[in-house]
């Protein structure tokens, strides 16, 4: 009876802890799985290059400074590489696009969202970013202009015109473009929470300590209670 109830309580907590919300993706199409590793410096650096060459044409990541590109070991650029990338910008400025929001609205009709927190800020996270970049298709009803129809974007009509030129690519480029989409998803997943690897590394030791502490206190409790009949 007593054990049953304890189990029930633990069960209820576990359901809460380990269930993930089932959300309908607005665009309809199922998301593809992104192969990302936020501890892989090579992948994050490749993603940064895609970000700087392609995304930064319109998008910023204002919470990531040029200095951060050197300081975070997961990115680990050298000072020379950073200097080349930043041009006239100060080390302490964020990765801000040259396109002003006013100009973006004139050209595209909307302000391009800042990408610093885009991975936790979208349902599906990195998978969504990856799927979006390779999700450009021809509008089956031919209403949406070419390059503005995306299978995974909520409502399908997207203002961002096909950044990786996915629509026009031929077979031989598929792997390369998927790689780019993956890499930039990895970069964005990393910069959304730049202390995440440190957090998990510390967390491992915290959990080890707590398991030991729980065991010790459990035995101590049993020892203290051994003469109580209940």
């Amino acid at each position: 009876m007593k054990i049953n109830k304890t189990l029930l309580a633990i069960g209820a907590i576990s359901v809460l802890l380990f269930s993930t919300p089932v959300m309908a993706s607005g665009g309809g199409a199922a998301l593809s799985h992104a192969e990302i590793d936020v501890t892989n410096q090579k992948q994050i650096q490749r993603g940064l290059m895609v970000f700087a060459d392609v995304c930064m044409g319109c998008h910023s990541a204002k919470y990531v400074t040029y200095r951060g590109l050197m300081d975070y070991p997961e990115i680990g650029l050298t000072r020379i590489e950073v200097d080349e990338l930043r041009g006239q910008n100060s080390l302490l400025t964020g990765l801000i696009s040259d396109l002003t929001i006013e100009d973006a609205i004139i050209s595209y009709g909307v302000a391009p969202p800042d990408l610093s927190l885009v991975v936790p800020g979208r349902r599906g996270g990195a998978d969504y970013i990856y799927s979006l970049l390779i999700g450009y298709v021809h509008d089956p009803e031919n209403k949406v202009p070419e390059g503005n129809f995306n299978a995974v974007f909520p409502g399908n009509r997207i203002a961002m015109p096909d950044p990786l030129s996915w629509l026009e690519h031929d077979e031989s480029e598929t792997a390369e473009l998927k790689q780019q989409a993956n890499d930039v998803a990895a970069f964005l997943a990393f910069i959304a929470d730049p202390h995440q690897n440190e957090r998990r590394a510390i967390g491992f030791w915290v959990m080890c300590f707590l398991v030991l502490l729980t065991l010790v206190l459990w035995r101590l409790k049993v020892e203290v209670w051994k003469d109580v009949k209940h």
Binding site: T20, G121, L210, W225
Partner: protein, 405 residues
């Protein structure tokens, strides 16, 4: 160890001026507790632990947080920027912020378990009515504190959640609109709202500490209930709080920290339950999110609100669903406390627990016509549970309670 400390000269010096020995004896080492309390009685001490953690992490977060809705580069605000500064630049700021955000949810987890235990074992019944009522006040203040705190990062869900909830006051006749404007500090949620919510978010935990003190005082006056729900007086049925329950609570704390730290270090958003996805998008008063839902711990009440076509009725029902907790001790007049010996009540209270989870699920999900009906049925049962109590006691064939434990 405590014994040795109490024999020192320093202790004698303090004791003569504070009466410390008397307090330690009456509240710890000679405070009698029933010996048969099960692990459901651990949640009270856990709630106290989380309250302390919230206050400590909160004090340090405030050293870096800036309550201002002034716009900055890229559609962000000073408040949002300061939270990201804590996450990125402040030493171990990420730890403080995740502990605080996860702590808010875990506070409700343990408090809901604590309340559920009180319901099941009849801990609200004579002579513990005031203990229960003080507890309900704590719940209300907690919900207020959580609501105010959720506005502070100034994300999309912060902004729209606050907009939806403060608009509810408009439904109250005559004074409603005025109350809404006072709360918001204007005609729409904006910078003045953020500042006053920040002030209240600091005030409410201080109130909590004071009222929790009252809760514990009331508990130590009437003493703990127990799973059998009978009065315990005989010395052989009681054990001293220290060391028996201090060590059991310590074990409970370590076990709880396993879950808490796992979430903090490995899954702080908990798939959008503890920190919602939309709150990583800066607040934008021109763009409503596709689906506005409060954080999980407020969703049962949100469903009750949504179950009525009329806004005023919804608001009244939501208020009533919390207010009815105050009168529970007076609705349930059964002499038997524990559900173990009340078969019909036991069934009803277990269904009530399931009902609240169903209400929470409905409030968290995007509204559909099926969920609306499910939510309405669940709302009906929520009230039926309380209102049927006087009637049920007439028919419930209670089993004989044991003489002792």
């Amino acid at each position: 160890m405590l014994d040795k400390m109490m024999k020192t000269q320093l202790f004698a010096w303090v004791d003569r001026r504070l009466g410390l020995e008397e307090i330690i004896k009456s509240q710890l080492t000679e405070y009698p507790a029933p010996k048969n309390l099960n692990y459901m009685w651990n949640f009270g001490s856990l709630a106290l632990l989380v309250l302390v953690l919230q206050i400590l992490t909160g004090i340090f977060l405030v050293m870096y947080y800036k309550p201002s809705a002034e716009l900055t580069q890229g559609g962000f605000t000073v408040a949002f920027d300061s939270v990201e500064r804590i996450m990125r630049d402040v030493n171990f700021g990420w730890l403080l912020r995740y502990m605080h955000a996860v702590g808010a949810s875990m506070f409700f987890v343990v408090v809901y378990m604590h309340i559920g235990r009180g319901l099941y074992y009849g801990s609200y019944k004579e002579p513990r009515e005031l203990l229960w009522i003080i507890g309900v006040i704590i719940l209300l203040i907690m919900q207020g504190a959580a609501f105010f705190g959720y506005l502070l990062p100034w994300g999309q869900m912060s902004f729209w959640g606050a907009t939806v909830i403060t608009n509810l006051f408009g439904a109250i006749p005559i004074l409603g609109e005025y109350i809404g404007q006072i709360l918001v500090g204007g005609f729409a949620v904006g910078d003045p709202t953020l500042n006053r919510f920040f002030s209240l978010h600091y005030l409410f935990p201080l109130l909590l500490v004071a009222i929790v003190g009252g809760h514990i005082h009331a508990l130590h006056t009437v003493h703990s209930n127990n799973p059998e729900g009978i009065d315990v007086h005989k010395p052989e049925e009681q054990i001293n709080f220290h060391p028996y329950y201090t060590i059991k609570d310590a074990f409970g704390v370590a076990f709880f920290l396993l879950f808490y730290c796992y979430i903090v270090f490995f899954n702080p958003q908990l798939g959008g339950y503890f920190i919602e996805v939309d709150n990583y998008v800066p607040a934008n008063n021109l763009q409503t999110p596709a689906h506005i839902a409060p954080v999980w711990y407020l969703t049962p009440w949100y469903t009750i609100l949504r179950s009525f076509p009329d806004k005023l009725m919804g608001v009244a029902a939501m208020g009533g669903s919390l207010a009815i907790l105050f009168v529970l001790p007076f609705l349930d007049r059964s002499k038997v406390r524990s559900a173990r010996y009340r078969p019909m009540f036991r069934l009803m209270v277990i269904m009530f627990f399931i009902d609240v989870i169903v209400l929470g699920y409905c409030g968290h999900s995007a509204p559909t016509s099926v969920l609306k009906v499910v939510g309405q049925i669940a709302t009906a049962y929520y009230f039926a549970f309380f209102l049927l109590l006087p009637l049920v006691n007439k028919f419930d064939r209670t089993k004989p309670v044991p003489e002792g434990i």
